[in-house]
C-alpha cells in the first residue's frame, strides 16, 4: 500500500491525487486477480486496506467527491469481494467493479461481450471473431456518441488506455488482422474528417470546437492509445495543441495553412507518420531560459501568479459555500484568466498560456450564453490552481497543460453552437446573435459621446438627436437579444423620456438625463468587457417617477387641433393605456410627410386608439415569450401618417410577433373603426405586423 494519509495533509490536491492513485491501484489490483476472481489471503488483506484508505480519503474533504461518484458504490461492492465465497457472485462483483472504476460502463461492457462468447462454449480459444467483436465494440465507443459526454470525452485517452489493458487481459483479442483493419479504417476516416474540418475552418476557437475539430483530434489520440502507440498519441495531442493555438491566433498565414493540411494528410498514410515532425512544439511547456535568467521578470511573475491564485481561491470558496459573491468573483476570475494568458506568454510559458487562453474562452462562452458554469469547470480550476505555483510552473510538463486544455475544451457549452439564431435589431436585415455585440459596438458612436444638455432637439443638433434616438432603439433591441436586462431597461426609459420631450414643452431634466447617460455608458463599458452591468441605485425609480409626474400634467386631449397636439394626445393615450394594462409599450410616431393642415386629427386619434387597444390583447398574449425570442420587454408601436393619392392613410406597426389576422378577424376589426376608415389591411414587414388604414376623402 503506497497511500498514506496524515492529518496535516493539504486538502484538495493531495486528497484528489490520493483518490485518483487509489482508484488506479484498485483497478490494477482487479486486473491482476485470478480468472475465477477469488483473491488469496494476502490479496484480501491488501484489498481491505486499499478500500479503507479510499474510504478515508473520500470522506476527507466533505463535498470533494460528489454523492453520485461511482467510487462510493465501488467501496460498498469492494467489500463484497472479501465476504462472498461463491465464484458466480465474485465474478458479478468483479464485473461491476470494472464497470465502475472509470466512471464508465465500458470495461464492464467489454467484459460482458467476452463473457457471452465464453458462455457459448468457447472460453479458452481466443478466436478472431471474439477479438474483432470486442475491438469493434471498443472502437464504436471511442468514436460513438458516448464520447460527446464531457467527462467521458475529457478522459477518452485514459479510458482507451484502460480498455486496451482490459482487452490484453484476454490474450489475443487485440492481435487479430480484422481488428487491425478496423482500427486502420477508423484512423483513416478520422484523419479525413480532421482535414475537412481544417479546410472549412473559419479560424476561431468557437468554430474549431463547434465543427468538431477538437473532438476529432481527441479521438485520434484515443485511437493511438488504443492501438498501443503512445508516441503517436503524444504526437496527436501536440498536433491538437498546435491547431488550438493556431485558432486562438486567428489562423496561420496561407503557407502555414497548407503546411498544416499537408501534415494532417500525411497522417492518413501508414508508415508516414513521424512523431518528431513537429519541431516547433519540441519544448513548449517547460520554463524558458529567458525566465530563469531574469530575476525581475521572475519576481513579477510570482506576484502575478499569487494574485491570480487569490482570485481563484475567492471564487472556489464562494462557489463551494454557495455565497452570493460567487457571481462577482466569477467575473473577476474571467477577466484575470484572460489577462493571465498574456502574462504567462510574456514569461515564456507558452503551453500554460495556451491552456489559460482556452480556459478563458470556454468560461467567456458560458457568460455569453448566460449558462451557469458546470461543476466540472470548478474541478478543472482547482487543478489549475495546483499547477499555478511558480515552483510547480517550472516543472509542469507540456502534457499536463495539454490534458487540462483538452478537458476544458470538452466543456465548450453545447448551447453556444446554436446561439447564432437570426435576431432582428435593425429595421430590415436580421443579424445573428453572435454578431450583435460587434454591431452594437460599431453602431453606438453618437451615444458614446452624448451630452444631453448640449444635444437636445435644437435645430442645429436635430440630426445628432435623431441619430442618438436611433442608437438608443438599436441598443434596446441588441441588449434584449443578448439578454442584458439593465441596459435594455434604461434604454427604454431614455426613449420614453425623449418621446415625452419631443411632444411636450416640458423643461429638459438635464441633470437626470446626464445621470442616465452616464450610467448607461458605465453599463456599456462593463458589457463591452463581458462583465455584468449594474445600474446606478435608484435611478430607474427616479426616471419612472419623473415620467409619471409629467404625463399627469398632460391629460388626454379631447380635441387636438394641430399635429404636435395630436402627437401629445396619442403619446398620452399610449402611456396611460400601458400603465392601466401593466403592459410595457411605447408609441413611436414618424415625422409627418405631408402638410398637416387638412389632416383629420379627431378621426386619426380615434382610429389609432381603437387599433392600439385591440392589438394590446394580442400583444399581451405574446408578452410572456418575448425574452425567449430575444425581443425587448417593451412592445413598440410605430405610427406613420401620409397622404397617398389624395387620401390620408396611416400605418401602425407592432413587434409582438403575432400572426397576420385572418379575414374574419379583420372584418371584426373593421367594424370597431369609425366610418371614416374606408379600407384596412395587414401585412408582415421586416418582422413587424403592419396595419394600414385608408381614410375616406
Amino acid at each position: 500500500m503506497l497511500l498514506s494519509v496524515t492529518q496535516d495533509a493539504q486538502p484538495g490536491c493531495v486528497v484528489h491525487a490520493g483518490l485518483w492513485a487509489g482508484k488506479r491501484q484498485l483497478y490494477a489490483w482487479l486486473v491482476d486477480l485470478p480468472a475465477d476472481g477469488i483473491p488469496d489471503a494476502l490479496q484480501s488483506a491488501a484489498l481491505a486496506k486499499l478500500l479503507d484508505t479510499l474510504r478515508i480519503l473520500a470522506n476527507w474533504v466533505p463535498g470533494l467527491l460528489p454523492a453520485n461518484d461511482p467510487l462510493w458504490r465501488l467501496l460498498k461492492v469492494g467489500r463484497g469481494l472479501l465476504i462472498h465465497t461463491d465464484a458466480v457472485t465474485r465474478h458479478k462483483l468483479l464485473t461491476f467493479c470494472f464497470s465502475q472504476i472509470e466512471d464508465e460502463d465500458l470495461a464492464g461492457h467489454v467484459l460482458s461481450v467476452v463473457g457471452q462468447h465464453q458462455e457459448r462454449g468457447n472460453p479458452d480459444s481466443r478466436s478472431e471473431s471474439v477479438g474483432s467483436s470486442v475491438v469493434e465494440t471498443a472502437l464504436a465507443f471511442i468514436l460513438g456518441t458516448d464520447l460527446s459526454l464531457p467527462l467521458a470525452w475529457a478522459r477518452g485517452p485514459s479510458v482507451c488506455r484502460d480498455l486496451a489493458v482490459t482487452l490484453q487481459y484476454f490474450p489475443g483479442s487485440l492481435s487479430t488482422a480484422s481488428a487491425e483493419a478496423a482500427i486502420a479504417n477508423c484512423w483513416g476516416n478520422r484523419v479525413e474528417a480532421l482535414a475537412a474540418c481544417l479546410a472549412d475552418s473559419s479560424w476561431t476557437l468557437a468554430a474549431w470546437c463547434s465543427n468538431g475539430g477538437v473532438r476529432i483530434c481527441h479521438q485520434l489520440a484515443a485511437l493511438a492509445e488504443f492501438d498501443s502507440n503512445p508516441a503517436l498519441a503524444r504526437y496527436c495531442r501536440k498536433l491538437s495543441a498546435l491547431l488550438v493555438h493556431a485558432h486562438l491566433q486567428s489562423g496561420p498565414d496561407p503557407h502555414g495553412k497548407r503546411q498544416l493540411l499537408k501534415l494532417i494528410c500525411s497522417l492518413a498514410q501508414p508508415g508516414m507518420v513521424q512523431p518528431t515532425a513537429l519541431p516547433w512544439l519540441a519544448n513548449p511547456g517547460c520554463l524558458s531560459d529567458k525566465l530563469q535568467a531574469d530575476e525581475l521578470l521572475y519576481s513579477a511573475l510570482q506576484q502575478e501568479v499569487s494574485c491570480y491564485r487569490e482570485s481563484l481561491d475567492l471564487f472556489l470558496d464562494a462557489r463551494t459555500d454557495g455565497r452570493d459573491t460567487e457571481k462577482y468573483h466569477r467575473q473577476q476570475l474571467l477577466q484575470l484568466t484572460t489577462r493571465m494568458r498574456w502574462v504567462l506568454l510574456e514569461a515564456g510559458l507558452e503551453c500554460a498560456s495556451t491552456c489559460l487562453a482556452c480556459c478563458s474562452e470556454v468560461m467567456a462562452r458560458y457568460w455569453f450564453c448566460k449558462i451557469p458554469w458546470p461543476d466540472r469547470i470548478t474541478v478543472l480550476l482547482a487543478t489549475l490552481r495546483e499547477y499555478l505555483l511558480v515552483d510547480i510552473l517550472l516543472h509542469t510538463d507540456a502534457d499536463r497543460w495539454e490534458s487540462l486544455q483538452t478537458q476544458m475544451l470538452s466543456l465548450w457549452p453545447q448551447q453556444s453552437y446554436g446561439a447564432d439564431i437570426p435576431v432582428r435589431i435593425g429595421p430590415a436585415t436580421p443579424t445573428t446573435l453572435g454578431q450583435v455585440p460587434r454591431l452594437l459596438s460599431s453602431s453606438l458612436q453618437t451615444l458614446a459621446m452624448a451630452e444631453p444638455q448640449g444635444f437636445y432637439m435644437t435645430d442645429a443638433d436635430s440630426q445628432g438627436a435623431e441619430q442618438m434616438l436611433h442608437e438608443l432603439a438599436l441598443l434596446e433591441r441588441g441588449a434584449a437579444a443578448v439578454e442584458i436586462r439593465p441596459v435594455e431597461r434604461l434604454c427604454g426609459q431614455l426613449l420614453d423620456m425623449y418621446g415625452l420631450l419631443q411632444v411636450s414643452d416640458t423643461t429638459i431634466p438635464t441633470a437626470l438625463l446626464q445621470r442616465a447617460h452616464s450610467s448607461l455608458l458605465s453599463m456599456l463599458d462593463a458589457a463591452a468587457l463581458w462583465q455584468e452591468p449594474v445600474q446606478e441605485t435608484g435611478l430607474s425609480q427616479e426616471i419612472d417617477a419623473w415620467l409619471r409626474e409629467r404625463w399627469q400634467q398632460y391629460p388626454l386631449a379631447e380635441h387636438p387641433v394641430d399635429w404636435p397636439g395630436l402627437c401629445l394626445a396619442l403619446q398620452s393615450f399610449a402611456a396611460s393605456l400601458g400603465g392601466m394594462l401593466a403592459l410595457p409599450l411605447r408609441l413611436e410616431i414618424q415625422t409627418l410627410s405631408a402638410p398637416p393642415q387638412a389632416l383629420p386629427g379627431q378621426v386619426l386619434l380615434h382610429i389609432v386608439q381603437v387599433l392600439i387597444r385591440t392589438l394590446c390583447l394580442d400583444v399581451g398574449s405574446h408578452q410572456a415569450n418575448r425574452n425567449g425570442r430575444h425581443l425587448p420587454v417593451v412592445t413598440v408601436f410605430t405610427l406613420s401618417v401620409a397622404l397617398v393619392d389624395g387620401h390620408w392613410c396611416l400605418e401602425l406597426g407592432e413587434d409582438s410577433g403575432a400572426a397576420v389576422p385572418d379575414t374574419q378577424e379583420m372584418s371584426r376589426l373593421k367594424l370597431k373603426l369609425p366610418d371614416a376608415a374606408s379600407r384596412i389591411s395587414c401585412r408582415m414587414e421586416h418582422g413587424l405586423r403592419v396595419f394600414r388604414v385608408t381614410f375616406r376623402q
Binding site: 477577466q335 484572460t338 498574456w342 506568454l345 510574456e346 459596438s441 458614446a448 459621446m449 468587457l529 463581458w530
Partner: protein, 119 residues
C-alpha cells in the same frame, strides 16, 4: 531633464509582468517609459507624449478609465487589449482611444503606433 528627442511614454497597467515587458519593449524602441499602476489622476499624465492603457485591469474597467482620461487629456491614448474580441476596437475608439493595439504586441506594430501618435 527629459530628452525631447525621445518620446516619454506612460504605461498604465496593474499587471507587474505585462507592464514590465511593455516598458522593456518601448525602451528597446528608444522611448522613456514609466509604468504607472491604474491611474485616474490625469494631472500625473500630462507631461507624457503618449499613454498606453491596459484594458484588463484588476479593479477597474479599462474603457471607463479611457473615457475618464480622454475628457481631461488631449494627448494620444492607446488602448492595449488581449481579449481577442473585435468589439474592443470599436468601443475603445468610441471611448476616446487614439489607437487600439491587440496582444501579442509585435515591435513593428508598437513602433507604427508610436510614429503615428507622436508625430
Amino acid at each position: 531633464m527629459k530628452d525631447r528627442n525621445r518620446w516619454a511614454v506612460a504605461v498604465v497597467c496593474d499587471s507587474p509582468v505585462l507592464s514590465l515587458q511593455l516598458c522593456r519593449q518601448l525602451t528597446r524602441l528608444d522611448c522613456y517609459c514609466t509604468a504607472i499602476k491604474a491611474e485616474t489622476d490625469p494631472a500625473r499624465l500630462q507631461d507624457f507624449d503618449l499613454v498606453f492603457i491596459e484594458l484588463m485591469l484588476l479593479h477597474q474597467n479599462g474603457f471607463a478609465l479611457m473615457r475618464l482620461l480622454r475628457t481631461r487629456l488631449a494627448l494620444p491614448l492607446v488602448l492595449v487589449t488581449g481579449t481577442g474580441r473585435h468589439t474592443d476596437h470599436d468601443w475603445g475608439k468610441a471611448a476616446g482611444a487614439t489607437a487600439v493595439l491587440e496582444r501579442p504586441l509585435a515591435d513593428d506594430a508598437v513602433a507604427q503606433v508610436l510614429s503615428c501618435c507622436c508625430q
